[in-house]
Symmetry: C2
Subunit: 164 residues, 2 copies
DNA sequence: TAAGATTGAGGTATCAATCTTT
DNA sequence: AAAGATTGATACCTCAATCTTA
């Protein structure tokens, strides 16, 4: 499908094969550039105000948001977008700083829960406003009225094709 | 500005302060998730079909696209979104694989140009279709008719606030 | 056998310090 | 003094292999 070239339909730079054209590059490289800038800025903010990286903060916040504030390593891996070994090492670091503990699970001895410590909970509580404000100031506040909805739809359609 | 809370205007979960609400999280985490999936998939493609990572490929392509196929290290750093030392090391690796050479610049002895070798040029030529096709298949083809324009606008507004 | 988690080995990035040239 | 590039030290992540339990 999509194998008839409607190059001549009047759009000028239609380009369905070959190198990416200028507009395609803008869309694709813009994603890379914006992601890099946002995560760098945000990680710097969190590092200086709470002493954790963006990904460490996200791990802590996912634990914080969970009803019982604990979660299997494998689920954290999925949420924080790291491999299992990456999570093992991140949790190692957080345990070393007393922000998280490990706890075996009665029902399945293969599983380890990462559990938020009091200090970890306090860190999230004290950093959550910084985090929300930074995400808004650097990103969300710059979106037009319809952009948020449009972006949500885009992320969603990318997710869907992921399995198909 | 934007300091009157129109919380009561009827939107339900308006939320101009405090934690990010569900819609805000969808937009923000969607960016992180989509970026991670796209770059992982693309890097895997390039690695298996051309033996280079996504960022290495981008460095090579930026050189390829340049009129004289050479460029100062500092400019590459800007384009590939790495620090100067990151670029030094990436070029080290590419030199080791004979895809790039270093060349001093007559007009300013502080500057080194990275120059595409014949092998580097051939790599780009042979990988450019894989790259374009993958970016389209994984990303651009999944966008609706207006999404590309909307995304370009979003990236642009994020860029602008960067200096202000 | 498979799932969950960890470990060893290795790759790639950063920061801070340094060297050279401007 | 500042700019461009590099280096040493270090941090963090992944892959493949391993261990334990299901």
């Amino acid at each position: 499908m999509a194998f008839y070239s409607d190059d001549e339909s009047g759009t000028g730079t239609a380009s369905r094969s070959g190198q990416l054209d200028d507009q395609e590059l803008q869309v694709w490289r813009g994603l890379l550039r914006s992601h890099a800038r946002l995560t760098n800025a945000l990680s710097g903010q969190l590092q200086s105000e709470a002493g954790v990286s963006l990904q460490e903060y996200q791990l802590l916040q996912h634990l914080f948001d969970h009803p019982i504030q604990r979660m299997p390593m494998s689920e954290l891996a999925r949420l924080v977008l790291l491999t299992p070994s990456g999570i093992t090492r991140m949790v190692d670091r957080l345990v070393g700083r007393n922000l998280v503990n490990r706890q075996p699970v009665r029902s399945d001895a293969r599983v380890q829960h990462a559990v938020l410590t009091d200090a970890g909970r306090e860190l999230v509580i004290s950093a959550v406003d910084t985090y929300a404000n930074s995400v808004r100031r650097l990103f969300l506040d710059k979106l037009g009225p319809d952009d948020a909805v449009a972006l949500s739809k885009v992320w969603n359609s990318l997710d869907i094709g992921d399995e198909g």
